[in-house]
C-alpha cells in the first residue's frame, strides 16, 4: 500500500468522528463545519464530498438537520447532534484515544529498541 493510500484510509476513517466533533459544541451549517474542519485538520479534500456524509449521518440518526431561512440572504441547513449522535461520539472518542495511546506505546517501544 502506498503512503497516499494509507493516508487516504486514515482520512476516510476519521472523517465521521471529525464531523461529529464539529457539531458537538452546537449546531453548525455545512460550510461552517467545513471551515471548522479546515481550521484544525486537512481532512477536507473536496468540500462537496462532505455534504453526502452529513446526509448519511443524518439518515443514521446521529445528526438532525433543519433549514434556517432568515439568517442569511439564502437558506442554510443546520446540523446538530442527536442523543444517539452524542452517544456515538463518546464511544468513538474513547476508542480513538485508546487507539492512539496503543500506537504511541508501540512507537515508543520501537524507538527504545533501536
Amino acid at each position: 500500500m502506498s503512503h497516499e493510500t494509507w493516508q487516504e484510509q486514515i482520512r476516510r476513517g476519521t472523517l465521521d468522528l471529525a464531523i461529529l466533533l464539529s457539531v458537538s459544541s452546537g449546531p453548525r451549517y455545512g460550510l461552517a463545519i467545513i471551515q471548522h474542519l479546515e481550521a484544525f485538520t486537512d481532512l477536507v479534500v473536496a468540500e462537496g464530498t462532505i455534504y453526502p456524509i452529513l446526509g448519511r449521518l443524518t439518515r443514521e440518526g446521529l445528526l438532525a438537520s433543519t433549514w434556517v431561512e432568515d439568517e442569511a440572504p439564502h437558506p442554510r441547513k443546520y446540523y446538530a447532534l442527536t442523543r444517539a449522535g452524542t452517544r456515538r461520539l463518546a464511544e468513538m472518542s474513547t476508542a480513538w484515544r485508546e487507539y492512539v495511546r496503543k500506537i504511541d506505546r508501540l512507537m515508543a517501544a520501537s524507538e527504545r529498541g533501536r
Binding site: L31, A46, G48, Y51, G55, R56, P73, H74, P75, K77
Partner: protein, 199 residues
C-alpha cells in the same frame, strides 16, 4: 461579491449538471434538498469573496474547492445507494448499488460481472424447473462422455447431446436455482458491505 450575469450562468450551469446527475439515482425531494444545500454553500462562499479583483477567477476557485459536479454527485451516490443496499438488502437497491460501482470502478465492473453471471445462472436453472413439465424431452441434465455437466434445455435436442433425467429434476433444479439466487444475493450484500467499510 455580487455576480454578473455570466457568473450567475456559471453557477446555474454547475447546479444544473449536479441536479441532472443526482436525478439518476436519488428521489426528487432528496435531489431538491441536496442542490439547495450546495447552492447555499456556493452563495456563502461567493458572498465571502467580496473584494476579489477578478470575478471569473474567484468563482472558478470556489467551484474547484467544491469539486466537479459529477464528483459531488458520485459522492452522494456512493453514500446513498450502497448504504441503502446494505441496510435494506432489497434486490433493486442492491442492483442499483452494484451498477453504480460497475460504471465507476474497474473492480466494481468485474464484481458486477460475476454477480450478473450468478443471477443469470440461478434464474435460468429455476426457469428449467418450470419448463420440464411442459417440455419433458428437452430439459434435463446434460451428460458429456458419461459425465454430468449441468442443467440444460435444448430446442430441439441436437444429435449427440445426451439429456437425462425424469421429473425428479424439477425439485432439484428449483432448489439449485433458489440456492443460487440466495447465495448470489448474499455475496452481493457482503461485497457492498466490504465496499462501504473501505470508504
Amino acid at each position: 461579491m455580487t455576480l454578473s450575469d455570466v457568473g450567475e450562468a456559471r453557477v446555474n450551469g454547475y447546479l444544473f449538471v449536479l441536479q441532472r446527475s443526482l436525478k439518476t439515482f436519488l428521489p426528487a425531494d432528496s435531489v431538491r434538498d441536496a442542490v439547495r444545500e450546495i447552492e447555499s454553500h456556493l452563495r456563502d462562499r461567493i458572498a465571502a469573496a467580496d473584494g476579489a479583483p477578478n470575478e471569473r477567477e474567484a468563482l472558478e476557485r470556489i467551484l474547484a474547492e467544491l469539486g466537479p459536479p459529477l464528483r459531488v454527485a458520485q459522492a452522494y451516490s456512493a453514500e446513498r445507494t450502497i448504504d441503502e443496499a446494505v441496510t435494506t438488502g432489497r434486490f433493486v437497491a442492491i442492483v442499483r448499488a452494484v451498477w453504480h460501482l460497475a460504471v465507476s470502478t474497474v473492480v466494481g465492473f468485474f464484481a458486477a460481472l460475476c454477480l450478473f453471471i450468478g443471477y443469470v445462472v440461478s434464474v435460468a436453472t429455476l426457469l428449467m424447473a418450470g419448463l420440464k413439465p411442459i417440455f419433458p424431452n428437452n430439459v434435463g441434465i446434460q451428460f458429456v462422455n458419461g459425465v454430468p455437466i449441468g442443467p440444460a434445455a435444448e430446442f430441439p435436442v441436437p444429435a449427440g447431446i445426451d439429456l437425462r433425467g425424469g421429473y425428479w429434476v424439477i425439485p432439484l433444479f428449483a432448489i439449485a436455482g433458489l440456492a443460487g439466487l440466495v447465495l448470489t444475493q448474499w455475496c452481493a450484500r457482503k461485497y457492498l458491505a466490504w465496499w462501504r467499510s473501505r470508504r
